[in-house]
Amino acid sequence: MTEHPADWLVSPELAPSFEGTALAPLFEHAERGELAMPFCAECAEPFELDQEVCDRCTGTGAHWRPVPPSGVVHARTLVHRTASPLLRTTAPYPVLDVELDSAHRVVMTTLEPATRDWQIGDRVRVAFRRVGGVPVPAAVPTGDTDPTKEEPA
């Protein structure tokens, strides 16, 4: 069995299993260092990660393509409960719902352990952690805040 460098947050048994699933292209692109997201193959409407039929044109099939690895925090929490043996940290850790500049919303933690207090509206760059060798999107602070996202609609 291949040994992988340990992730800072979770045990390798939480490595996502994706082969043959709707999310496989996310991981295949991520192996090349690209963040890819699904769109309607017909009209390019953003899809959910496991969506099959378009709300707008009823076209079927998702087309995955690279998107800019950047976005803004849409919702945030700092998880203080770290009792699970599935976790490798005893310090509170962030979980962010990031709205990518492509409009997709993806839940992720951060590339490194918490070093700041995240707020809704913070700009992020998206990189990849490795969990059991599998690349998983993770947020990196840019230090900027998107003024249009601070006050949700």
Partner: protein, 386 residues
């Protein structure tokens, strides 16, 4: 045509102690519901079963009919609409008796997440698998449902202009009701200082913002014609569901909106207005959800801000809108939708003791599944509808 009615209610003790199997708890609740209704087993010809969506080695299933010694049935189903199942199940039973599919239908929910050597939290942490969107989230530290609902809560407070004081007011109100409920898990009086001193689980949710898992079961009997001379029936006056399509992309919100249809459908079929509801029993897995649902369902009188209403004691004992009058799932017990139903029945029977709402004769009961994705509502009343 007289509305179908709930004519029997049976529960097990709600315990935070590990042990027991869901199946055994279900059998005890069924026995109690039959006894409460004054019915023998052979007088029931339908069974609907709901189980926790969590991975449990002993989930209850349609096998329960055989295990519980029920006879030849004309209706037997296991329903699954996540947390909305229990409330939707009673609606399903009401429609079935109305359609002549069965005469008396038992509806049962049982769960036993607390096991020897592990907390309920550990049971939830280990559920969800490693594939699909959920697998991706779990690899990001989203174990159990608390981190997800913490994200929803953070977004709701930001979008509504609310604060942690609103969450505190919900927790304090729930506890104030629970003080009068001998079946509630948390009955010690709570004030804001006690709330703020409680342990943070996932910001902004403290442990007192989260439902209290229990091992327990509840069963009800739905009948087309109430049995004379036993418990006062609670008539099923209105039904409604809503499963709004929301998307995990901008613009717009991903988690809020669309639930109001369920309440309005139920009220319309019952022929009553919101102002005609004496009590409201909401599915409250987290304090923030109570705020969301009051908002989403349009339940605040005069449509004012939810936070202000709750901070002013509007949903607490003595408030203008009694909500979750047994302490809800926050302070009462988390029986995934049976909690609001059991409390509504107890209130409508006038048997709620110290927490009884004077003259309670109509109730809204709601179930909620997923991430505010599935809404199921009942309007119950002491008087038969037309």
């Amino acid at each position: 045509m007289t509305s179908p009615a709930i004519v029997g209610l049976g529960t097990t003790p709600m315990t935070t102690q590990p042990g027991g199997r869901a199946r055994d708890l279900a059998v005890v609740a069924i026995e109690a519901a039959l006894s409460d209704a004054g019915l023998r087993r052979e007088e029931v010809d339908g069974l609907l079963v709901a189980s926790s969506q969590g991975i449990r080695p002993d989930r209850v299933s349609v096998e329960l009919a055989r295990q519980a010694g029920l006879g030849d049935l004309r209706l037997l189903e296991h329903l699954e609409i996540k947390g909305a199942t229990t409330v939707a199940m009673v609606a399903h039973a009401a429609l079935a008796v109305r359609a002549g599919l069965a005469r008396r239908v038992l509806c049962v929910f049982a769960d036993a997440p607390l096991r020897p050597g592990g907390s309920a939290g550990a049971s939830y942490d280990n559920s969800g698998g490693v594939s699909g969107v959920r697998g991706l989230e779990r690899a990001s530290g989203v174990l159990g449902s608390v981190p997800t609902y913490a994200l929803l809560a953070s977004r709701y407070l930001a979008a509504s202009g609310g604060t942690e004081e609103d969450l505190c007011a919900v927790a304090v109100s729930a506890r104030a009701w629970a003080v009068g409920n001998p079946d509630a898990v948390s009955r010690t009086p709570l004030d804001c200082a006690g709330y703020h001193a409680s342990r943070m689980v996932a910001e902004p949710l403290r442990v007192l913002d989260c439902a209290r898992p229990v091992n327990g079961a509840a069963a009800v009997v739905v009948a087309g014609h109430p049995t004379a001379g036993v418990q006062p029936p609670a008539y099923v006056l209105g039904l409604g569901q809503s499963h709004p399509r929301r998307r995990r992309h901008g613009p717009g919100e991903s988690w809020f909106g669309g639930g109001r249809v369920a309440v309005e459908t139920a009220l319309r079929s019952a022929g009553i207005a919101r102002s005609g509801l004496d009590i409201v029993e909401l599915y409250d897995p987290f304090s923030a959800v109570t705020l969301c649902l009051l908002d989403e369902y349009g339940l605040v009188p005069d449509g004012g801000p939810v936070g202000e209403f709750v901070r002013g004691g509007g949903i607490a004992p003595g408030g203008t809108l009694p909500v979750n009058t047994g302490g809800g799932q926050l302070a009462g017990f988390y029986l995934q939708g049976m909690t609001p139903l059991v409390e509504a029945l107890t209130q409508l029977r006038g048997s709620a003791g110290a927490r009884q709402v004077d003259g309670a004769s109509t109730a809204l009961v709601t179930g909620l599944g997923g991430r505010l994705d599935h809404h199921a509502c009942l309007v119950l009343g002491r008087e038969a509808g037309s």
